[in-house]
């Protein structure tokens, strides 16, 4: 447990020292929010949630890539793969939770007639999925550039595709649109349930993917034996 | 005198000369260098002298002590040990034999 906490704490310190990145992270969803502020009710809420998910997955992508150099030697220094990726997940989840609080407060006091509890749920699920999504991309793709492009495509599609389309469910942040409809348009709880299942399933699947990818990358190779 | 050859000769006998000077009385580095120069062996630099002193000290042929001089700052005084005196006596005899051998051979050249 000490090992996971140590990785988490130091990963958190690393993020905290990237002032520029933090600032962009903080301002970026705000730009999304402001861009749709004048349109019909709720559009800005949908956008701020997407903005948050994009900002967080990008942060996770870069954090994951930056850790690539040091993780193999930490593995040699007595860490297991799960210590390393769990620690990093915890750190980034913390960052996400802290960043989403001001946005929830913004929605809470700037918007009327929406289900605030559902908004909070969207934000929680956004933090939960965006972090492993970014880390999974960093584990699977060789460089940050590829990862950034993939993220761009995913969020772009997320914006233009009709959530009612079945294919849209394959997108990672579909739950955000679905629960958003429930929160803003006061639809029936079917939306909430579908979104919740999607979000939770996705969080579990992506976290598992991160675990598997990091386990493979940091596996003990067969030619090497310790006695 | 050819400086390089002088250096080579010196390497062989400097420790003996130092022992001999210390046999007279205890002394410190700078004074030893002056005595060596005055005796005609030539100027000896500190970079050559102190390593020899350290080696003699390590092998127990001299002992050393930091002490205030009559005038001036504290200095490291070297004194020959009984083992050093013994070595000096034996080696001085060997050197005599060696040097007279060299002398005999070289004199033949000079007189020819």
């Amino acid at each position: 447990m000490t090992k996971i906490w140590t990785v988490a704490e130091l990963a958190l310190r690393e993020v905290a020292r990237r002032r520029g990145v933090l600032l962009i992270l903080l301002v970026f969803p705000l730009a999304f929010y402001a861009s749709r502020r004048d349109e019909h009710t709720g559009q800005s809420i949908r956008f701020v949630c997407l903005g948050l998910s994009w900002a967080l997955s990008t942060a996770a992508l870069f954090a994951g890539s930056a850790a690539r150099g040091i993780e193999p030697r930490l593995r040699l220094s007595g860490y297991r793969a799960y210590h390393l990726h769990l620690g990093r997940l915890l750190a980034l989840w913390t960052v996400g939770a802290v960043l989403s609080v001001p946005y929830f407060l913004l929605v809470r006091f700037d918007q009327d007639d929406v289900r605030y509890g559902a908004i909070a749920l969207i934000m929680a699920l956004t933090v939960a999925t965006a972090v492993p999504f970014g880390l999974a991309l960093s584990a699977i793709l060789p460089r940050e550039l590829e990862g950034t492009l993939v993220l761009l495509i995913v969020v772009g599609l997320q914006m233009v595709m009709d959530p009612a389309d079945t294919a849209a469910r394959a997108l990672p942040f579909w739950f955000s649109r679905e629960i958003g409809t429930y929160a803003i348009d006061h639809t029936d709880s079917g939306y909430l349930a579908r979104g919740l299942v999607h979000g939770v399933t996705l969080t579990l699947a992506l976290t598992a993917l991160v675990a598997i990818a990091s386990g493979i990358r940091l596996r003990q190779r067969r030619h090497l034996r310790f006695d | 005198m050819d400086q390089e050859r002088r250096g080579q000769w010196l390497r062989g006998v400097l420790d003996l000369c130092v022992l001999a000077l210390l046999h007279r009385r205890e002394s410190y580095g700078y004074e030893l260098a002056q005595s060596l120069d005055a005796s005609g062996i030539g100027p000896i630099q500190g970079g050559t002298l102190y390593p020899v002193l350290l080696r003699l000290q390590r092998t127990g042929l001299v002992s050393a002590q930091w002490r205030e001089g009559a005038a001036g700052p504290a200095r490291k005084y070297y004194r020959i040990t009984p083992a050093g005196a013994d070595t000096l006596r034996r080696t001085a005899v060997d050197w005599d034999a060696f040097a007279s051998g060299v002398g005999t051979v070289l004199r033949e050249v000079q007189t020819r």
Binding site: R13, R221, H223, D227 | G47
Partner: protein
């Protein structure tokens, strides 16, 4: 160079040669007295500090980089004439190809506790590849590696976290080795001290100079005292003095019974190691 500067440089050089601190002080004090008495410039009387320090170290019997066998300080007994310990690293038949071009062909190496093995070879001969295979960071096409004990690895570059302070690196690696924070910091500082580096302070790794970052890398590899140390040209960016410190440190680790593999392309160190593994392909050697 004035006398004070020269004397200070001498003190540093004597320290680097592993001279007993008391003895060093005496040597420096004696030189200072001599300079005061004679009034001559230090370079004329004693020569360059490094040269004089070498002469002093030789005459008191301290080991010389390039010449000696042991690592002992003056006061310590000289290393006994090679007492090999148990085998720590066994490498058998390692073969590796990159796009069908063979880089390593059936390479064997055995390193025992208290031994240093040097891996040499031209650029591209596969030195780093070999070390990465030994560390388990890369899979070979054939062959196996057995490590009896724990492993520490120092890469040629990278391997540090840009935004963390040196001491945070110690804590991070230390936790993996089961060290508490204070222990890890103390151990890191001790290893750093041997390389003449004071790691306290708030400088992020990305702001360290190349040489200092390599010191950090080396300290990280050595934390937790692993039985086998794999060092991939860790001295890049070291100045001459640090380079000597580095070899002093290697000998201390060897004396402590560590098994060390060090990649190097500088042949003048080879008389200071126990085994040399030359990875230059045979056809190049005959050419």
């Amino acid at each position: 160079m004035n006398s004070d500067g020269w004397l200070q440089a001498l003190a540093g050089e004597l320290h680097r040669r592993g001279l007993d601190p008391d003895l060093s002080r005496h040597v420096v004090a004696e030189a200072a007295t001599h300079l005061r008495d004679s009034g001559e410039p230090p370079l004329q009387v004693f020569g360059p500090p490094a040269t004089y320090a070498t002469a002093v170290a030789e005459s008191v019997g301290a080991p010389q980089p390039g010449g000696g066998v042991g690592v002992a300080r003056v006061a310590m007994p000289v290393r006994p004439p090679h007492t090999p310990g148990p085998v720590r690293l066994e490498v058998r038949g390692i073969t590796k190809r990159y796009r069908r071009r063979p880089v390593l062909t059936s390479v064997d190496l055995t390193v025992r506790a208290g031994e240093i093995a040097a891996v040499v070879g031209a650029n591209g001969a596969g030195k780093s590849t070999f070390l990465r295979i030994c560390a388990g960071l890369l899979s070979p096409d054939a062959g196996r590696v057995r490590v009896h004990g724990t492993l520490g690895y120092c890469p040629q570059s990278g391997g540090t976290a840009d935004f963390l302070y040196p001491e945070e690196h110690f804590v991070l690696v230390g936790a993996g080795r089961g060290l508490h924070r204070a222990e890890a910091r103390a151990a890191g500082r001790a290893h750093a001290g041997a390389l003449d580096w004071e790691p306290a302070g708030r400088t992020q790794a990305r702001h360290l100079s190349g040489g200092t970052r390599q010191k950090l890398n080396l300290v990280m590899a050595a934390l937790g005292e692993p039985d086998v140390l794999l060092l991939d040209e860790p001295y890049q960016g070291f100045d001459r003095g640090t380079y000597l410190d580095f070899w002093q440190q290697l000998w201390r680790w060897r004396a402590d019974g560590r098994a060390i593999v060090v990649v190097t392309h500088l042949l003048n160190q080879l008389d200071r190691v126990d085994t040399v593994l030359d990875l230059t392909p045979a056809r190049e050697m005959s050419a």
